[in-house]
Subunit: 212 residues, 2 copies
């Protein structure tokens, strides 16, 4: 009897912990195409001394979708307009597209972890005050999960490990190879793109589970 009670108790606790984790995980909604820019690139595209304006704060502290958007000109002169810039500025220029975007534009996108852009393809950005040619930095970002060391302990994972995101619903799927990115400044959040979200019709109320 003591064993049965202890195990019931444990399952209740696990349920509550898991529920809390889910709430912290938030509603994983796919991230649309976007870019990160250096301050130098911002000034070429939007004018000398221009500072990115906050359109909407993102879940990770200090990160925001900027009011500014720009146009990406692909290799076949096809364009993507209204490409959202995420701020604040970084030390590199990077455009993150879905494979669907890549096919529409004529790019064979390399799959890379954000920041790992050496040897990737480039393209032309157009803003209201000028053009900026990226020599590289156009990628499909590898799906990943941001977490702090406490989250990593909870899941029993370390930086660079891969997890799985199980998404339910009428056309559910499991995303393998969800790269773990761990930093004490991170909040628990999965980053997937619109192809991944649309493959399973991910909606705010779609059940999701992050698994080791």
């Amino acid at each position: 009897m003591a064993t049965a009670n202890a195990s019931m108790h444990r399952s209740v606790v696990e349920h509550l912990v898991r529920q809390t984790v889910y709430q912290r995980l938030g509603k994983p909604l796919p991230r649309a195409r976007h870019c990160h820019l250096t301050q130098d690139a911002v000034e070429i595209l939007f004018g000398k001394g221009h500072q990115l304006q906050v359109h909407k704060w993102l879940y990770q502290d200090g990160q925001f979708a900027a009011k500014e958007t720009l146009t990406l000109i692909g290799p076949r002169s096809r364009v993507i307009s209204n490409l959202r810039i995420l701020g604040p500025c970084r030390t590199l220029n990077q455009v993150e597209l879905s494979y669907t975007d890549g096919i529409a534009l004529g790019y064979e996108l390399p799959l890379r972890s954000s920041g790992d852009i050496k040897g990737t393809i480039g393209g032309m950005l157009m803003g209201p005050t000028g053009f900026f040619e990226m020599e590289s930095g156009i990628i499909r970002a590898l799906r990943h999960v941001h977490m702090n060391p406490v989250d990593a302990d909870y899941y029993g994972v370390k930086p660079g490990d891969f997890m799985k995101l199980k998404i339910g619903g009428d056309c559910g799927l499991s995303l393998d190879r969800m790269l773990c990115r761990v930093d004490k400044s991170f909040k628990l959040e999965v980053h997937i793109d619109t192809d991944e979200g649309n493959a399973c019709n991910l909606q705010p109320n779609t059940p999701c589970e992050l698994l080791k």
Copy 2:
């Protein structure tokens, strides 16, 4: 020793059978947006007495991509041009789009098994000789696998069951809820759409496994 030999033998046989099944499964490549039409609709869109012309034979016997394409006009007057028609003509009109297409056009697509179009949304088709208004039939097709009864026996499934398609590679995933459609005329083939294919960058050499 007899047991060990028998079990080795069995694993070799299983390997060969599986290899053959994979070859029959072919290279699962995503199916792009397309439509099926009645002969009446074809004649309104392409002219009295018009017969669909074969552009390319598909894997299922007698099925083909037609030379003819048309334009779909969505609810916000946004269009998809070059919508491929698949032949031969059917007894209903049905347009199969991806969720990405639906978002671009302004449709909230219902997820349906092909043919099950009652109560779905409609739209306007435009061809060289006229317009044809569909009252319903615009769907995102539920991912499915065609197989004959011998395949169904092999996998231990029956019509209406769901299987799983495990797709490998650097951004692999597992597609749950792969509906089994069984008919003695069917060849073993999975039908998934471009969102599903692009979510995992499905290429002809990407390893895939169909599982119960």
